[in-house]
Symmetry: C2
Subunit: 645 residues, 2 copies
């Protein structure tokens, strides 16, 4: 194993600058053109201006159904003195689009031409009662497009209407830029293709699929090579092969400085490593290189790092080859809902969910691990925390770089509070019934949810707070935390809470009394969670001191987190709902049945997405059934209004 190899810590701006200068120096610009059928050119970029080689229409044609006439023949026509024109000689019937016969220069609409029977009853003449203007109801040559006219400029992304105009202007084919080919090499001895039988240590390869899809979105052509094990000669051979096939070579991963990170070495041996390591988080171990006159990027293995660095260093380049500027991201100004500390000296890309609550856009940080791809799936945008900052205080105004349309955010219900497995089902059924609405949940515990409502950071909150004095759920807390606010409390479920243990209960845990055993490790919920209060209540009732419970200080934020910790042996037991034990096929020792409600401030009851959600809770039988199928739920009061202040 090698040691003591450290990455550089080049500031992002500097790195981007170095990269751009290098691309400039290499003369990287729009790729050569290729001729393709105009009908297949949607989304491609013109490689030259397109001018009409044919006028449209290319002959004078009738714009109406009627009679082509010579306007001079109609002079003097009036009601008292209609003008009679011989059909065939002076008036020729034309349908819309028909060419005008030579020498004719106007059209009389069929409604304005009165047929007069000629010999043997034939319509030999028409009569008109007013003169016509020259070229009336005629689409003259070039009315739409005049031959030689510019139809599309160079560097124009082709839209549906453009295709019509190009064909109409006399073209069959159109010159478009060749799509830049991005060769992507997945590396790693441990990576396997999806569907392969897995063993401990296997990593399913999916980064290349994300990167390929991004290349697609940016107008390039991805070329994904087969995975290559951690072997320098093989990696080098693949990079050389990729240099032949691609305009850009991307190696994923092995871009760090660990004992099995060979990418930088391979690039250095074949060409040049321009830069290795930048001061961003996630995404630090990126490599910018140059091999055989081709740019080569070493992309980190953690998916969030891969996603971010690929955007930073490949996106502009792929657009540049097409002769386009990359579309500028959309930004919104939002308030950050909770504190986010950040390391000094590193620029952090914080993923946030964004929702519009009342007039405020609220950005809530999601998980920050570079390996947590779901943080990207769930995120609505990025907030950049500058290298010189130690983080963001709650309430700070930030610029959020959006990952989805601003409009979508206006149709998103922000749900902050306690976690329940049925919220996943609710999010799904909402999307299914109302595709434009989303339910975005952040799990900070029941207390956190009510505080978010108080601060105007959420539309709804899931809560299950038992007041020990009164024995009542939620209402005393509403009165205490949201005094004077009009809030409606709607029941979602009654649910079973208990101790989750591994299948077969190997530690033979029978109840709370076992938590003080030396061989039992507990996993707790964060403070402010209803389940934490429930745990503390039970400990108190049984006279157990928290200090005697091993693992009391280790916290998870969701029921599934607790269940997962038990499943994987991180802990032996923890308090959670039956549904989460069922989901992971664990055993369960019931402790309490509790009420889980949704709290909604009055001002959001009429907000359309919330109204739709409450309607689903009140009456969607598919949703009710799905929740029951999770196990441990009583849905008899689902949707019932329990309290209105």
């Amino acid at each position: 194993m090698r040691k003591g190899i450290y990455l550089e810590n080049t500031p992002l701006d500097e790195a981007l600058n170095i990269w751009t200068l290098r691309l400039d120096a290499a003369g990287i610009g729009p790729l050569e053109g290729e001729s393709i059928a105009a009908k297949d050119s949607l989304g491609r970029v013109t490689a030259g201006s397109v001018t009409a080689v044919l006028s449209s229409p290319f002959y004078h044609s009738s714009a109406m159904d009627g009679y082509a006439v010579r306007f001079t023949d109609t002079f003097g026509a009036s009601e008292s003195s209609p003008r009679r024109l011989a059909v065939g000689a002076q008036a020729v019937y034309v349908d819309t689009g028909d060419p005008l016969p030579d020498g004719f220069n106007a059209v009389v609409m069929v409604e304005d031409a009165n047929p007069v029977a000629g010999e043997a009853g034939k319509k030999g003449f028409i009569e008109i009662i007013q003169p016509v203007a020259p070229w009336q109801h005629v689409r003259v040559i070039g009315e739409d497009i005049v031959c030689t006219e510019l139809i599309l400029p160079e560097n124009h992304r082709i839209r549906p209407v453009d295709i019509g105009a190009v064909i109409s202007g006399g073209h069959v084919d159109i010159p478009v830029r060749r799509r830049p080919v991005v060769a992507i090499i997945p590396t790693g001895s441990e990576i396997v293709e999806p569907g392969t039988e897995l063993r401990k240590g296997s990593i399913i390869e999916f980064n290349s699929r994300i990167l390929s899809s991004l290349v697609h979105e940016w107008g390039g052509e991805p070329l994904r090579l087969s995975p290559v094990p951690d072997d320098i000669p093989l990696i080098k051979q693949n990079i050389l092969e990729a240099c032949k096939k691609g305009d850009l070579v991307v190696v994923n991963a092995g871009s760090s400085a660990g004992s099995e990170d060979y990418t930088a070495k391979a690039i250095a041996e074949l060409g040049e490593v321009i830069l290795h390591g930048i001061n961003i988080k996630p995404g630090k171990p990126v490599i910018l290189g140059w091999v055989q006159n081709k740019p080569v990027i070493g992309i980190p293995g953690y998916p969030v790092s891969a996603y971010i660095t690929f955007h930073l260093f490949a996106k502009d380049l792929i657009y540049r080859w097409q002769g386009l500027d990359a579309p500028e991201p959309e930004f919104v100004r939002a308030k950050i809902s909770r504190q986010a500390a950040s390391a000094l000296g590193q620029e952090e890309f914080l993923r946030v969910k964004v929702g519009k609550v009342g007039e405020n856009l609220i950005a809530t940080p999601v998980s920050r691990g570079a390996g947590v791809l779901m943080s990207l799936v769930r995120a609505d945008g990025f907030v950049r925390i500058p290298a010189m900052s130690e983080g963001l205080g709650a309430g700070t105004e930030v610029d959020v770089e959006l990952l989805r349309a601003k409009k979508d955010m206006e149709n998103t219900i922000v749900c902050i509070g306690s976690h329940d497995n049925s919220l996943d089902l609710l999010a799904n059924i909402l999307k299914k019934r109302h595709p434009r609405y989303s339910l975005s949940s952040a799990h900070v515990g029941s207390m956190g949810g009510l505080i978010a409502l108080k601060k105007g950071e959420a539309h709804i909150a899931g809560t299950h707070l038992l007041d020990e004095e009164t024995g009542q759920y939620n209402i005393p807390y509403l009165l205490r935390l949201l005094p004077g606010r009009k809030v409606t409390l709607i029941n979602l479920v009654y649910r079973q809470q208990g101790l989750i243990v591994r299948k077969g209960n190997p530690r033979k845990i029978a109840g709370f009394q076992d938590l003080i055993r030396d061989d039992v490790v507990f996993i707790n919920r964060q403070s402010g969670a209803g389940t934490r209060l429930l745990t503390d209540k039970h400990l108190r009732e049984m006279g157990i001191s928290a200090a005697d419970v091993k693992g009391y200080d280790r916290e998870e934020y969701t029921h599934m987190g607790v269940a997962s910790a038990v499943l994987t042996g991180i802990a032996d037991t923890g308090m959670a709902i039956l549904a989460s034990a069922r989901a992971l096929d664990l055993d369960f020792i019931p402790v309490a049945r509790e009420r889980y409600d949704i709290a909604v401030p009055a001002e959001y009851l009429k907000f359309e997405p919330v109204a739709a959600l409450l309607d689903l809770i009140a009456s969607d039988s598919e949703f009710k059934k799905e929740v029951e199928d999770l196990g441990g739920y009583d849905v008899s009061d689902m949707g019932k209004i329990l309290y209105e202040s």
Copy 2:
């Protein structure tokens, strides 16, 4: 020929309502799902929720290069009393991503482990100087995705990150909605495929290519059938065939009520015509029908009508089949720059160009013909003029439904004024050099341009106004029309104006004296055009009365319009620049050499796109060369500042 068949005039809202109710009644909703490889699912829509079948990671893995340890073995480690761990038994080297050996539950970073040589110099031990926390530097099972967790809800359009998460969650395939198939039947005996040899009366078929591309953009699968002549049995046969293959059948065109319009008849004979004719312009002759339990739409033949009606009646439907709501169009509020009259009783879809001048968004109507596809190519959006309105006065605030991104508009130079062929070249070179900038030109004549500058509706104006008193170009007009405004005048070209005549000058026109001949038809420019002033000046000088010039009242708005009118025999001659004669291979009788300048108010000189444009005018040799190649231009002063107020 049939007569007296009239279209209905159903109001648009009513028509949409009838259509939606019919689709509802037919139970049209999300299509069935199909399973495809997740890696190929970009842009598709989930046909069911996707939950993880595997946790990610599915084993505890190291988050760092270092040593896997049992945290209990590290209790009590300190600088003064390092803890020594036997490599192999108590500390196992792991790279990032490696699984933790069974029973191990933390990782010490390689930097924090001090190797100690064992027997025979082997690294037999490591020493650490602080205890480690449980699960430190470990990616625990499910850190990213917990088995059973919701990854994607139903009805979700799949993005690059989603593909990664789905694969990571243990899937190879993903259930997505089948793409709705839209069978498009081009009809018309006169239509021919692009590239076919044309004869008078031929119409190149391109509407189906526009419609197919729109279907693509909306997520459907277009199926374009071969063109069908105007023959009822054949049309019916094709509709039946299309009903078998498509979810939606589109017949284009023959949707009006003319003698060769068979679509409504064919649909009626096969099934039902629900509605024929709506009160919109363009787009009136649309047919909504139902055949063999499939929706059938008869789309008008004029391309703008086709585009609008297809949006109105097919777009939502195609999204509905995918389980999505169609994305809502973006609107901006803009001021209409000139009056637009509109027929009472018809809802008009006015195409406008939009530019941001100072703080104002200005919408300028473009050509209104249903057959003018270029009006769509050039448009930035639609303004709907309600049926109950007789039009919009200049300066009215309107909502513009955008056809391109709002940001693009902020990078658009609005050029209103005189037309010159070199403006096309300028628009092209600007896009080539600066892909994000656009030059949008409206041709209203030199006077109109200066007035637009005065009213803050344009950034620049092209002008060639000769002041007869002083013999000076443009400056006297600037002083008169824009008193007190700081304006810079930059020369673009000197150019040759003259009388354009058909090739070989068949009418033997020698000069202005021939305009009074009986056999010579003139074509004029609109008043306010510099060329019109020039014409009037010459007529005056030669003592010719306008009344004696046949065609003096017929106006065109551009040089190319005049040239085209001469080429096609609408007129025998007209005043225009040499370049337009050259473009259409016409003959030219020189009359005057004139100066054509660009006027720029001082406040826009620093507006980046304008600055870039002026830079191109001043120094781009490719542009200069292209202008010279047009013919009749003197570019010796191109870019020279001639006046600054």
